[in-house]
Amino acid sequence: MEVKNTIVFSAETLELVQKIMKRYPEGKHKSAILPILHLAQAEWNWCSPEVMDYIASLLSIAPVEVYEVASFYTMFHLEPVGEHVIEYCRTGPCCLMGGVEVYDHLKKRLGIQTDETTADGKFTIKEVECLAACGWGPVFQIKEKFYMQLTAEKVDQIIDELRK
């Protein structure tokens, strides 16, 4: 991944940000905070304080308003994470389908526990709650993509593919 030293969206993303802010009535553009946090995390992989300060400046609000929102919602990583964040569903229906065993395999395979990152910085594992895919469990998500009906073999294939 390309390393950026300054926190600024590309011109294209900035245009999108302007468009998003117009979705709401005059003066209510604070509503754009969640969509913009998503854009920022897609760009920088996690929401560092610098990123959140930048968002505050875009929305002309106090940085603390961004911090308090970002920390409420579980999707935003407030600590650095690996290149691929594997977010597995730990809730009942996925467990019924053998989720616990599959995720144990995943942890063993990567040699890390939940909330840890592999030494090469490639993978982070996180636990999440029900991903609205219960009938297709066990399930995990990496960025926007859902991986479903997981088995130990499928997990191995996915990891091999992403390591390439």
Binding site: E68, G92, E129, G135
Partner: protein
């Protein structure tokens, strides 16, 4: 009888051209060109359609409560936060057939006189958001959205708002806070959203499935919709079926089929996975009481239980449950009820917004106590302690998440107390991998 999913497997149905070839957007044409907003609302009232998000409140009635002060904008917000464990129907519908929701949004917004509407989609479904955004663009290009729709003078803009990962934002007032760019803390009601909703303006919040159903109602009339189903459970319902069945997935059922049919018929779940027996069902998403095999199949009067709001709740919480969101979770005899209850208790503990102490502290306690029972460290008094904590939460909180957390625990103990006792009395057996208590003489033993 399929209303929402009739064409869901047609290749290309996610594009507006294919969608229109299969009758798409006719409800928009009819409503906007030939009907008044009040006439649309009237049809929805006649249909008997009840909210599909969980509570089952009549949709038409909710619409008629919307305040209409002069010069103040009104909003329709679609609740696509779908985070209730066991529920994945809205995900399925939006992913496969986005225009089904968008058409319903236009019809419903017209009825309410909303000129801006939002679909609040849980952030994890970003790929679905892209699908919806593409479909919305198509609808603008065809003139079904934007200024002066179909030359009628009616304007509507439709936007997607992503969530950020928080179950509580499915609660309607938390959703509105979130839409305003804040933390998802539920508001104290009243005022209700119909009077003071998003940005303090009158707002209707409805579930994806509720809104999607309005197009068919406009095309075919409220009476035709009401003719499907049984009693006050009219129309069809999307059921997300998961767990130990042969065919997990999303099924659109006419309300009123028997639970037994739904579980065992090849048309639906196809029965329990090979070689296993039905032990328990959570019929309407994790929040509703779990029932044993006998209780879910038959009411206490020995009648076959139906897939309706009334029949599923027959017997109250003593022997009944709720249709809820239609998250139908099936468990066979290999299931440890204590472990399953633990995952739910952990879920509510994790998702409590923390505003009210009974919910914040109570969900933490239940999680902790069930954890120690499951892990072989339970104490004799723990079961009564759990019942007590659940009682203290119930009815004592700002929003219904507290009840939603208390019910599954209370019901698991009500119907499977022997399983909790076994864990406490035989910790060395209970902690073995895959260990499950078998109730002597039970139908699943």
């Amino acid at each position: 009888m399929k209303i929402l999913t009739e064409h869901i497997d047609v290749p290309g149905i996610e594009t507006i051209d294919v969608f229109c070839k299969h009758g798409g957007y006719q409800a928009v044409e009819k409503a906007i060109k030939k009907m008044t907003p009040d006439e649309v609302t009237e049809e929805v009232k006649k249909s008997g359609l009840r909210g599909r998000g969980g509570a089952g409140f009549p949709v038409g009635m909710k619409w008629s409560f919307l305040a209409k002060p002069e010069g103040v904008p009104r909003y329709l917000v679609c609740n696509a936060d779908e985070s209730e464990p066991g529920t994945f129907k809205d995900h399925y519908l939006m992913w496969k057939s986005p225009h089904t929701l968008i058409e319903g949004m236009i019809v419903s917004s017209f009825a309410l006189g909303a000129n801006t509407s939002y679909i609040y989609v849980r952030g994890e479904l970003m790929y679905v958001i892209h699908i919806l955004e593409k479909a919305i663009q198509e609808a603008y290009d065809k003139g079904y959205l934007g200024k002066n729709i179909l030359g009628s003078g009616y304007d509507l803009d439709l936007y997607i708002q992503p969530g950020g990962g928080a179950y509580i934002c499915g609660e309607e007032t938390a959703l509105l806070e979130s839409l305003e760019g804040k933390r998802g803390n539920p508001r104290i009601k009243p005022p209700f959203p119909a009077v003071k909703g998003v940005w303090q303006c009158p707002t209707v919040v409805n579930n994806v499935e509720s809104i999607a159903a309005t197009s068919w109602i406009i095309n075919h009339g409220g009476d035709s919709y009401a003719a499907i189903g049984v009693g006050r459970s009219t129309g069809t319902k999307l059921i997300s079926a998961s767990g130990h069945i042969r065919k997990p997935g999303v099924y659109e059922i006419p309300l009123g089929i028997t639970v037994e049919d739904f579980i065992y018929s090849d048309e639906w779940c196809g029965g329990i996975r090979d070689g296993h027996k039905l032990k328990a069902v959570v019929a309407g998403g994790s929040s509703v009481p779990i029932l044993s095999a006998e209780m879910i199949l038959n009411t206490v009067d020995g009648e076959k239980r139906l897939m309706t709001y009334e029949s599923l709740s027959d017997g109250g919480f003593a022997t009944g449950t709720m249709l809820g969101s239609g998250g139908f979770i099936v468990m066979d005899e290999t299931t440890c009820i204590v472990h399953n209850t633990l995952t739910f208790a952990r879920f509510y503990h994790h998702e409590s917004c923390g505003q009210c102490s009974p919910c914040r502290e109570g969900t933490g306690w239940m999680d902790k106590v069930i954890y120690r029972i499951e892990h072989g460290n339970g104490r004799k008094e723990d079961i009564d302690l759990l019942v007590d904590v659940a009682k203290k939460i119930e009815g004592n909180t700002i929003c219904p998440l507290g009840d939603a957390a208390a019910w599954p625990v209370a019901a698991a103990i009500r119907h499977f107390r022997d399983e909790f006792e076994w864990h406490i009395e035989h910790p060395e057996l209970a902690i073995q991998p895959g260990a499950v208590y078998m109730r002597p003489g039970a139908s699943w033993a």
